[in-house]
Structures are given as structure tokens and as C-alpha cells.
């Protein structure tokens, strides 16, 4: 099974932001940016631990490259003014109820310029227009105010929470607040 239409290899969000397949970013750059943001990311992301290694990044990228256009989950690196600043991914292109979820992280130094809001909006547009999605879902820890601000800004509806459904880098459980946007609610 492959994803139809094929996922774009690059998405030009606007004149400042582009999304490129995450495995096209050199593994060393991914590794360096994650380590520079370890504390920032580790508050809410279980994989952002000090032992996050270069070989693991390479393995992950090889795997995703081999499954490009077949994996129901794919990710992009976010470039802001040509600088690599974070990542965004979507899963569920082929969901039986046409519901995909979007996840993302951004380097601390790139916050405050609307980079993620614009990137998420671009993926939503792609999902609704090219993949006939019925809804897009975003989940974030209740304390992750910046992450939650994105669906809230983009007109998502809060649909409750999932308790203890994620872990942070210390291995502690996190609740997730859930948001969804139906195609019928999407302003385009």
C-alpha cells in the first residue's frame, strides 16, 4: 500500500518557511539541534534524553527513507530562513475514518515568529485538499502552553484529554489535551 497522491518532497509554506523530508537533513544536524534543545524538548518528549545518539538518528532516517510513500507516518524538517529549526510530522493519511494527527517540535531559539503555526496550517491544507481528510487531530500536554496555543490559534476544538498517554524524558507520565479540526470547520 502506498500513500496516494505521493507526499511532496518539499513544501514551501511561504517565503520564509519550507518543509523538507526529515531524512534529507543531515543526521548530524538533527542530532546537534536536539542536543542543543535537550532540556527544552525533554519536558514533553520522551525520546529527548541525553543518550539520544547519532546512530539512532541515522537508523530512524534510513527506515523512514525506505518507507517513504508507504509509511502511514512521515515527517518533515522545518527550515526558517534556510535554517533548520525543528520538525513536523503527520500520521494517519490512510486512516479508515480519514483522521490524521500532527505532531511537532521547535528549537527554543526559533520560537515567537509563528513558524510552527504557519507550518501546521500548511500541513492541514495539504491533508484536507490532497488527502481528503475529514479531520486533523493535535495532542499536547496540558502544561505545554506553547504547543497548545497552535491548535487554539488555528480554530481547533478542544475535545477533552487522554490521561497518562505520553511520557516525558524522565519517564514520567503526561496527560494529553486533545484538539480536532473538522474539514467542515476549516476556513481554508
Amino acid at each position: 500500500m502506498s500513500i496516494e497522491p505521493p507526499l511532496p518532497t518539499e513544501i514551501q509554506v511561504d517565503d520564509e518557511i519550507s518543509l523538507r523530508r526529515m531524512f534529507d537533513t543531515p543526521a548530524e544536524e538533527v542530532h546537534a539541534l536536539v542536543h542543543r534543545n535537550m532540556e527544552h524538548l525533554g519536558r514533553f518528549l520522551g525520546w529527548a534524553t541525553p543518550d539520544y545518539g547519532l546512530e539512532g538518528v541515522r537508523e530512524f532516517q534510513r527506515n523512514k527513507r525506505a518507507k517513504w510513500s508507504k509509511s502511514e507516518e512521515q515527517g518533515y524538517s522545518i527550515y526558517f530562513k534556510d535554517e533548520y529549526v525543528g520538525a513536523i510530522g503527520m500520521r494517519g493519511f490512510d486512516s479508515p475514518v480519514q483522521a490524521a494527527s500532527i505532531g511537532y517540535w521547535l528549537s527554543e531559539h526559533a520560537q515567537g515568529s509563528g513558524v510552527m503555526t504557519r507550518s501546521v496550517a500548511a500541513l492541514i491544507k495539504l491533508g484536507f485538499e490532497a488527502y481528503d481528510l475529514n479531520q486533523v487531530i493535535i495532542k499536547a500536554a496540558p502544561e505545554n502552553i506553547r504547543s497548545r496555543a497552535i491548535p487554539e490559534r488555528l480554530g481547533f476544538t478542544a475535545t477533552g484529554a487522554e490521561r497518562q498517554m505520553a511520557k516525558n524524558a524522565k519517564g514520567e507520565y503526561l496527560d494529553l489535551v486533545t484538539y480536532s479540526l473538522l474539514k467542515s470547520e476549516w476556513a481554508g
Binding site: G46, P96, T157, T159, G160, Q164, A166, T178
Partner: protein, 191 residues
């Protein structure tokens, strides 16, 4: 994945009710129970379409047999007073494989006797005591009062409503009420 014990093959719920692998019930029995309840089940459950056939029941039994013991998904027949009354299944999910979902349905002639509630309580005991699960989830269509009442009676907490999430027997999408019970809540309830 490998640190997660497999659920048992059979469970005794009470004097009259037990759970056993769904494929041990003849597909003919399963088909006739579903056929007799077709429109009622089809309001909320995807498999209960107008076209549901004996061959579908056979295929389902084959799939359940293949998955059995593989730690992902197990579906039990609810046997009440020696008769096939419905099914209850367990499915693992969650980032650390410590969350499961349970789902169930029962024939109309078996309703109103607390059978499903007793089965859910047995499943909770099995999940928390034997599988070391952290959380058990139940999802039910928002309008499915009887199904929701089972979760509420068993002490689950309503976490929210996922919109347009469940496919029903007519192919329409229903909103799903999401319930969960955490391990510490269960320990508290049982005291």
C-alpha cells in the same frame, strides 16, 4: 512488547458467566446471534452491516485464532448459562504498551442482567492484576447509553469526546465518548 504477559484463554466471571476464545464458538452460532441483533448492533458497530454473513463470522473466527496469544488483541465469547451471549475483547495501545482498550456487545435477550458489567469488572481485574496494565479505556458512541452506562457503573472516568470517530453499520461516523480507568483508581475502588 515482550514484557507484556498474554491474557488467559478462559476466565470465569461468575456462576453463570464465563469468557472463552471467540473462535471456540461455532461461527453459525455467532452469525445467528448477530443476525438476530443486526439492526440494533448496526446502529453503533461497524461490522453489523446489512450484508453481514456467515462467511464474515467464519473469517472473524479465523482472524481471532491467528491473533490469539500474540499480545495484541484478544476477543472472547461471553458464555452465559451455556449460551453464546455476546463478545468482549481487549486491544493494547499507548506509547509504552501499558494501556488497553476493551470493547463489548451483547444480544438483546441478555440485556438488563448486569452481564456485561460483570465481564468488564473481570477484565479489569485481569488487566490490572495479571497484565500490569496502567490504564484501561472504553470508547462508546455518544448516543449509546447502555454501553456508556457499563463504563460509568464500573467507575470509569469520562475524558472527552472524539468527534466523527466510530464507523457504524451504515457506514456513518459517530462521535465517541472516551472513558478511562487508571491503575491507582482501580486500587482505590477495590478497597
Amino acid at each position: 512488547m515482550s514484557d507484556w504477559p498474554v491474557p488467559p484463554d478462559e476466565m470465569v466471571v461468575d456462576d453463570e458467566t464465563r469468557l472463552r476464545p471467540v473462535f471456540e464458538s461455532p461461527p453459525e452460532q455467532m452469525y445467528s446471534l448477530i443476525d438476530a441483533n443486526r439492526s440494533r448492533l448496526g446502529r453503533y458497530l461497524q461490522f453489523a452491516t446489512p450484508e453481514y454473513s456467515l462467511e464474515d463470522a467464519r473469517e472473524y473466527a479465523r482472524q481471532c485464532r491467528d491473533k490469539w496469544g500474540r499480545q495484541g488483541e484478544q476477543s472472547y465469547a461471553i458464555i452465559h448459562g451455556g449460551q453464546l451471549a455476546g463478545t468482549i475483547g481487549i486491544l493494547r495501545f499507548g506509547s509504552d504498551n501499558r494501556a488497553v482498550e476493551i470493547g463489548y456487545w451483547i444480544g438483546v435477550e441478555f440485556e438488563g442482567r448486569g452481564i456485561v458489567t460483570a465481564c468488564v469488572e473481570k477484565m479489569l481485574e485481569m488487566c490490572f492484576d495479571r497484565l500490569a496494565v496502567n490504564q484501561v479505556n472504553i470508547g462508546a458512541a455518544v448516543d449509546n447509553r447502555r454501553s456508556r452506562a457499563v463504563a460509568e457503573r464500573a467507575g470509569f472516568r469520562l475524558d472527552g469526546v472524539t468527534r466523527q470517530w466510530l464507523v457504524n453499520g451504515s457506514g456513518g461516523l459517530d462521535d465517541m465518548a472516551r472513558y478511562s480507568m487508571l491503575r491507582n483508581e482501580w486500587l482505590e475502588l477495590r478497597r
